[in-house]
């Protein structure tokens, strides 16, 4: 609003000038000569006089670039290649101008000016995108914004000393703008967004090149944005083609992460499983199958595998999510801690179910993040308690205990939906050899053995089986738990009615058993 009179014309003139200078042979190496001359023109036109004018200049330039793209896209006669060449002719020039202004604003030591300018420009482009997205609705086109973001990101990640010194802030700025433009906020930009977030330079910078893994938390946040967006569409049975495409694209990205950065998936598995819908079994298995590259997994099918004696089995896995803070309200957390210590207040158990049923998600009867956090918190407290006595997890050491009281109470008192979610939370901890996998494997087998009604055993079987009958990968902890359950005669697995309730189930269990044994 309130652009000073004449600013629009001035900006249009300057942008045209710059595009011509950028493409001229006299532009010099990386357009530096053209830039020096152009900055003079910006000064003469008074654009650099105030922060407000610079902001308006960038917004007007962005809008002009976007309008040019919409006009090119509307020309039906042109091939996609030609349309892109016309759009990128101007967009790439504008990107270079932004990159040069960011690099050369303030003196070379003053990184704050540079980063502030970058934040400003990214915010402006995001603002124009969101407004365009709202105004044009299904006519919205991602092309100009996608090009601006990716080419600016690549330009600002060139191997230049001035850029290396501000690289972490540059990455942070882009992660913030991509979080602002997450698919739930700009669904018309979702495909371009996933292209940007999974671009080889972006992944390389955030997950491989940035020291001390300082890009991991930012990248995890963006993946969570993606899972949250997909969740409602994957929870339903019918997937539209557009949703199937972005779902498959997500699987590809996760496969690259599983192959190149398994430790990243290990560290953030908890946060991801909190948002991946519980019926997205293969995607969740993919996340849970990650294990540190330095680790050699023993073959889970090894006869008489002694899990207790594996070197890594007592190692505490890194979990970079503050899951304890998810246990709300604080009064509930206080009672929980008190119960774990003293088994009081005694009504803690009887009120447990109602505490878990305060769901915020529309369509969900339970607070799934709370169930997940409760299970992991009680489990880690139990491991701490067992190790504190110099013992390791086993069917004999995990009970009796206040921790197991809680798990058994949940197994017995929840309805089938709640119990399914509770057992899913346990199964989400069955990963590579570590102290959590070990404890929760013993726990789910203990609950199976101690069950006072067959429905509990049936649902334990269901939760494990649905993870085994999907295509690979299958987490190591899941396999060893299921093998133990079907092989160990103490569990009398094959005697249960639900094992033989239908020929397909028989066949399925037989085939899983055969592949396991």
């Amino acid at each position: 609003f309130d652009d000073p009179p004449g600013l629009h014309e001035k900006t249009e003139y300057l942008l045209r000038e710059w595009v011509t200078m950028y493409h001229s042979p006299a532009a010099g190496r990386d357009s530096t000569k053209a830039f020096t001359a152009f900055v003079q023109q910006m000064h003469q036109q008074g654009i650099l006089k105030t922060d407000d004018l610079i902001t308006r200049f960038f917004r007007l330039c962005t809008e002009m670039c976007v309008d040019l793209c919409y006009r090119a896209l509307s020309e039906q006669t042109h091939s996609p290649t030609l349309i892109r060449a016309k759009c990128f002719h101007t967009l790439d020039a504008f990107v270079r101008l932004i990159a040069l202004l960011v690099k050369h604003s303030g003196d070379s030591a003053n990184t704050v000016t540079k980063i502030n300018l970058l934040h400003k420009v990214l915010g402006i482009v995001a603002g124009v995108l969101i407004q365009d997205h709202e105004v044009r609705c299904t006519e919205f086109q991602q092309l100009p914004y996608h090009r601006l973001f990716i080419m600016l990101f690549i330009e600002l990640n060139a191997p230049e000393p001035i850029l290396e010194s501000i690289n972490l802030q540059v990455l942070l700025a882009f992660c913030q703008v991509f979080h602002i433009l997450r698919p739930a906020k700009a669904p018309g930009f979702a495909y371009a967004w996933l292209e940007l977030v999974s671009h080889r330079v972006f992944i390389g910078r955030l997950l491989a090149l940035t020291p001390q893994q300082r890009g991991w938390g930012m990248y995890a946040q963006l993946l969570m944005d993606l899972f949250r967006f997909l969740s409602p569409f994957l929870r339903n049975a019918e997937l539209s083609k557009p949703t199937q495409l972005i779902y498959k694209g997500t699987l590809r990205v996760l496969l690259v992460l599983l192959h190149d950065f398994p430790e990243f998936l290990c560290d953030y598995h908890y946060a991801f499983c909190d948002v991946v819908p519980s019926n997205c079994i293969q995607m969740r298995n993919l996340i849970l199958s990650a294990f540190p590259r330095t680790m050699r997994l023993p073959d889970p099918f090894t006869p008489n595998l002694k899990v207790d004696s594996l070197p890594d089995i007592a190692q505490q896995p890194r979990i970079l999510t503050n899951f304890v803070s998810m246990i709300q309200p604080s009064s509930f957390k206080k009672d929980l801690d008190s119960y774990l210590k003293t088994r009081a207040p005694i009504n803690f158990l009887s009120e447990l179910r109602s505490n878990l049923q305060q769901s915020v998600e529309p369509g969900c009867h339970y607070n799934i993040p709370l169930i997940n956090a409760l299970v992991l918190y009680v489990g880690t407290q139990a491991i701490h308690f067992i190790h504190g006595k110099g013992q390791s997890s086993s069917m004999g050491t995990i009970a009796p205990s206040s921790h197991m009281d809680i798990f058994q109470n949940l197994a017995v008192n929840l309805d089938t939906e709640g119990r399914y979610l509770f057992l899913t939370a346990i199964a989400n901890q069955l990963r590579y050899p570590n102290s959590h996998t070990h404890y929760f494997s013993c726990t789910i087998l203990y609950l199976f053995a101690q069950a006072n009604n067959e429905q509990i055993q049936e649902q334990i079987t269901r939760v494990l089986l649905e993870r085994l009958i999907v295509n690979r990968p299958h987490p190591w902890g899941l396999l060893i738990t299921f093998i133990e359950m079907i092989k160990n005669p103490n569990f009398k697995f094959w005697n249960h009615e639900f094992v033989h309730c239908a020929p397909e189930v028989d066949k399925m269990l037989e085939s899983v058993a055969r592949s396991c044994l």
Binding site: R84, A85, C137, I150, G188, Y191, A192, F233
Partner: protein, 47 residues
């Protein structure tokens, strides 16, 4: 059933599906040897 917000998101996603990003959108313009994708026989080398 999807809530209103999610229906809107799905509608916008369907619209975006009609004009997916192209890999060349993330690549520098190639003036000399631009990409020119076209169907080649399956028995040719794709990679």
């Amino acid at each position: 059933p999807l809530v209103k917000d999610h229906v809107y998101q799905l509608t916008m996603l369907d619209a975006a599906y009609q004009h997916l990003p192209h890999p060349s959108d993330s690549e520098r313009l190639r003036h000399y040897l631009p990409r020119n994708p076209c169907p080649t026989p399956s028995y040719y080398y794709q990679l």
